[in-house]
């Protein structure tokens, strides 16, 4: 159709016209919802971000004495100079930056190919045991990364930590550089972030028309040639996507780096930043957070540039989605063994070690019956088999009970609120697809996704640790409310993506038909949209719930003892000499996650959507 470009006619403004235009906009509840959503998003995302940027340039009370002649509220470059141009800069900035980049690069270079290889094996090759492997392959991802860090420690820990790990206990000398620091951090993260590239590449492989590879075979190409010249280029967009995601997530990581790096003074950006925010000068922490966010933004922009609109080469047309599996021949058993070892190391071993260590009296002293006890689970400190134990066993531990309660409170309330908001935001972005408010909403929601968890909570810390709006909002410093707020907003991207895919299933014509029959906006929502959105909502809710329950990085900065969640409690315990109780908490969390995930899968939820 020849659509000539022409300007819309300008209409003269009359009273009647103005009255009708106002009525059209205000009288439509959808417009009001969009307006308020944009307002709220702006207040929850843009304003805190701007506020933190501002705070990094403003003198705070704690630095009054360090800045001669300054008053509270003056503009200053003190914090930025402290960070970037002071004698401390090397230790607090350059080193952590290099460490973060190093970890990011190494993790990506190892985990992306591994994930891609596993994806190819599972989708394209004739490797045996696929059923079993595919049900197990994402379990390592569900074990929180800091739990994996703890199981690493329980294998490799040496005397530096006050208690021994499995190997040291067997008499093997484990050097510091293996037990802690960059190698440990990178390996633990690889066993976690392989999942990104696995999910993305397997998705891409599944959507590629197998006839493309078959054609190569007919033309006489060998298996390696087909792989290199046909398959690889077609999955390149997904590999690039996975690479960028892995880099940005691993640069901003906190929990693993803290567990494995702090005790030998190996710091990354996130761990340094937490120190500044929890102590002082906070302004330096804010400056660091801004730099981390910029770094993440740059990597994601690079991703957009490289991939652009070619999000995937999902081939159009043709019927060949039956895939003829590529026979592995002689390579079959070696690759099978590789997979088994991978699963063993990233799933079975950590779980086993954690479980066993929780039963040990002296870590590292072996699994003999004389070294095993149920103390970590149900013991009381008066009856402790060793005076090194610092707490009651889990189920007799009031701190554990409170942490359970806190985790439950946080997860349930946050996920209910964020899931509801996600459905609404999903409704706005789908019904407003292509329109200015739809695009704006999508972009605003994307911002929390960009930021590493610690940097994001730094923003809220900066915004809400003082009273706002002239006392209308009191200081939320150290409160549960602040943690709740941060959890809700940080999960907006996921919740709204889930809401979006849910709403896309509900064709707009179903609503149009209702409106022609006379249903008002709210009637349509109640009678048409909600009944049809119910199931999608439930599975999205469960996945958000799981994500919030195991969260550590996001809330670490905001934690106070009264608000300890299970993950943070375990993290605190793990810093002490006796890790058994910490391990026990880990196990509780892992079991909980696996159970919830099972339920979510039954309802149609898919963890791969959380990326």
């Amino acid at each position: 159709m020849a659509k000539t470009k022409s300007k819309q006619p300008r209409k003269p403004l009359t009273k009647e016209r103005l009255k009708n235009q106002i009525r059209n906009v205000v009288g439509n509840p959808f417009n009001m919802i969009v307006f308020f959503s944009l307002l709220i998003l702006f207040c929850l995302i843009i304003i805190p971000l701007l506020n933190m940027i501002q705070n990094s340039f403003v003198v705070a009370k704690a630095e009054l004495r360090s800045i001669p002649g300054a008053k509270i509220g003056d503009y200053t470059l003190y914090y930025w100079k402290y960070l970037l141009a002071s004698p401390l800069t090397k230790t607090i900035f350059w080193e952590p930056l290099v460490h973060s980049l190093l970890i990011g690069a190494l993790t990506t270079v190892i985990s992306v190919p591994v994930g891609a290889l596993i994806a190819w094996l599972m989708v394209r090759s004739d490797i045996p045991g696929k059923r079993v492997i595919s049900s197990l392959i994402l379990i390592p991802y569900m074990i929180p990364s800091w739990c994996k860090a703890m199981s690493w420690l329980s294998v490799f820990r040496n005397s530096r930590s006050g208690s021994l790990g499995l190997l040291t206990g067997l008499g093997i000398d484990i050097p510091d550089w293996l037990a802690y620091g960059p190698i440990a951090i990178v390996l633990v993260m690889c066993m976690h972030y392989y999942a990104f590239s696995y999910i993305m590449v397997s998705g891409a492989l599944r959507s590629i028309n197998s006839e493309l590879e078959e054609m190569g075979e007919i033309q006489g190409a060998s298996k390696t040639q087909i792989l290199a010249h046909i398959t690889l280029p077609l999955v390149l967009p997904s590999i690039l996507s996975a690479t960028i995601m892995t880099i940005s997530k691993s640069i901003g990581t906190y929990g693993v780096a803290a567990n494995l790096g702090n005790r030998i003074g190996y710091y990354v950006l996130a761990t340094r930043m937490k120190e500044f925010i929890n102590d002082s000068p906070k302004g330096v922490g804010y400056a660091m957070s801004i730099l981390m966010i910029s770094l993440a933004a740059v990597t994601i922009l690079v991703n957009q540039k490289l991939i652009g609109t070619r999000k995937s080469y999902a081939t159009i047309g043709g019927k060949g989605t039956r895939s003829n599996l590529i026979p592995l021949g002689g390579a079959k058993w070696p690759l099978m063994i590789f997979l088994i070892i991978f699963l063993f190391v990233s799933m079975f071993l950590p779980l086993f070690v954690l479980v066993m260590e929780s039963f040990q009296i002296m870590p590292g002293a072996g699994y003999g019956a004389d070294n095993l006890t149920l103390y970590a689970w149900i013991g009381e400190i008066e009856n402790a088999p060793s005076e090194l134990y610092a707490q009651n066993g889990l189920f007799k531990n009031s701190e554990f009970g409170r942490a359970c309660l806190n985790t439950a409170k946080l997860s349930i309330i946050a996920s209910i609120i964020t899931s509801f908001c996600g459905q609404f935001l999903g409704y706005i972005t789908t019904r407003g697809r292509g329109k200015w408010y739809g695009k704006l909403t999508e972009q605003l929601i994307f911002i929390p996704y960009l930021m590493p968890g610690v940097a994001f909570s730094a923003i809220y810390f900066s915004m809400f640790s003082q009273p706002r709006l002239g006392g209308l909002i009191p200081s939320l410093y150290g409160t549960f409310t602040l943690i709740l707020l941060v959890s809700i907003v940080k999960h907006f991207p996921f919740a709204s993506r889930s809401g979006q895919s849910n709403m896309l299933q509900i064709a707009i014509e179903l609503e149009e038909a209702a409106s022609i029959e006379g249903a008002s906006f709210w009637k349509r929502i109640a009678k048409i949209v909600i009944p049809l959105a119910k199931n999608g909502f439930l599975s999205g809710f469960l996945l958000t719930f799981i994500s919030i329950a195991k969260e550590l990085d996001l809330i670490a900065i905001l934690m106070t003892p009264a608000n300890y969640t299970l993950s943070f409690l375990s993290f605190e315990y793990s810093k002490e000499a006796m890790p058994q109780v910490a391990d026990a908490i880990c196990i509780v969390i892992i079991v909980f996650i696996l159970v919830c995930n099972r339920i979510a899968n039954r309802l149609g939820g898919d963890v791969s959507k959380s990326m």
Binding site: M1, A2, K3, T4, K5, S6, K7, Q8, P9, K11, P12, T14, E16, R17, L18, N20, Q21, N24, A507, E509, L510, E512, A513, A514, S515, I516, E517, G518, A519, K523, K527, I528, P531, L532
Partner: protein, 384 residues
């Protein structure tokens, strides 16, 4: 039971001028079809009438009541226009039974329960699906879902019924059955119907009048017979008719009184009365023209029948299709198609005799593409 008048309707999507100065009057009780290829603006026009789209310019009245006044930014709500719409995808609510789907609108209007029962069952019975009242849409076939969608639209006895390509998702056989149903529905209820389709057979068989759309404008409004026999331009002529019309290039000369056309078939003279004089017809100079000839108006015989306007032709190919045979013929440089009833076999390159009826041909000005000579609508056997 309502008369609809659209005046100067313009619709833009951003800078895209999708509907251009649409003017259309639909009389009370008509079956008006909006016909055209994909993307020509017919569905947009239907949605403007329904209230689901708001035009940036123009006015619309239903029974003289203003429902659209773009100058004053006044757009009456769809529910208040006394109409109903059948979507191309049916848009049946999957979580409601057939009964609930049809009763939805009545419940909103707070109609008493026994009246709802009566109206819904009446509507279901008219569409002959009353036995499915408690089924869910996904338990029905495409044709049954179609009927539910129509039943839902007529349950509230609307004054105006809008249908957006309702038959395009059905298989060929079902389509023919449903065409008959819709025609009956129109006669029985007397409701004004506006029907959107790209299928010219539907348009020809069901409508009282057809509005032919082209690139956002209305090219021609006429009865089915009028559009079929005298399409207003080359695009319209090409669009209507199955198999498509034959176009023969020729040269014309108009001296102000008679038009002489020289074609590969021979020379024809057309009198003043048969010409469309409000079109551009160059006088006293030879100009290019195109003759339009319907395949069914080409008579083939194996021997010379001795009639006027008979010429020799060569069989290029023949396609017997059971109820009819399509024959590709050539005369000199010109090639064209003839349509014969029944099964007839011709050999390739067989010589046959072809009798034409120039009074039933259209002539088009090649440069402007517009019709300049009318074809006679009916003729008696033996006429030219």
């Amino acid at each position: 039971m309502s008369k609809i008048v659209l005046e100067h309707i313009d619709k833009y999507y951003g800078e895209s001028h999708v509907l251009r100065d649409i003017n259309l009057t639909i009389e009370d009780g008509e079956f008006m079809t909006l016909l055209g290829p994909s993307g020509c603006g017919k569905t947009t026009t239907l949605r403007v009438i329904s209230g689901l789209e708001k035009p940036q310019n123009g006015k619309m009245t239903i029974n003289d009541a203003v429902v659209i006044d773009a100058d004053n930014a006044f757009y009456e709500e769809p529910a208040k226009r006394g109409l109903n719409l059948v979507f191309q995808s049916y848009a049946l609510w999957p979580h409601m039974t057939v009964f609930e789907n049809v009763a939805f609108g009545l419940k909103i209007k707070k109609v008493p329960k026994d009246e709802i029962e009566e109206k819904v069952m009446g509507s279901l019975r008219t569409m002959r699906i009353d036995q499915y009242r408690d089924r869910y849409p996904n338990e029905l076939s495409g044709g049954q879902q179609q009927r539910v969608a129509i039943a839902r639209a007529i349950a509230s006895s609307p004054k105006l019924l809008l249908l957006d390509e309702p038959l395009s998702n059905l298989d060929a056989r079902l389509r023919i059955d449903m065409r008959a149903e819709l025609k009956r529905l129109h006669k029985e209820t007397g409701t004004t119907i506006v029907y959107v389709t790209h299928d010219q057979v539907e348009a020809l068989t069901m409508s009282t009048r057809i509005a032919l759309f082209k690139e956002g404008e209305i090219a021609q409004i006429d009865t089915p017979l009028g559009i079929y026999t005298n399409p207003i331009d080359l695009t319209a002529a090409d669009f209507i008719g199955n198999p498509r019309i034959n176009f023969i290039d020729a040269k014309a000369f108009y001296n102000g009184d008679t038009m002489t056309v020289k074609s590969p078939f021979g020379t024809y003279e057309f009198k003043h009365e048969t010409l469309k004089l409000d079109e551009e017809i160059p006088e006293n100079e030879e100009f290019d023209c195109v003759m339009g000839l319907r395949p069914e108006l080409v008579d083939i015989s194996l021997e010379d029948p001795g009639k006027k306007h008979t010429i020799e032709a060569n069989v290029y190919a023949s396609q017997p299709a059971g109820s009819e045979t399509i024959v590709n013929l050539t005369v000199g440089e010109a090639d064209f198609i003839a349509l014969q009833i029944g099964l007839v076999e011709y050999d390739m390159n067989e010589k046959v005799y072809v009798t034409l009826h120039p009074s039933r041909m259209n002539v088009y000005n090649k440069e402007t593409g517009r019709l300049i000579k009318f074809a006679k609508v009916k003729h008696h056997a033996g006429e030219e």
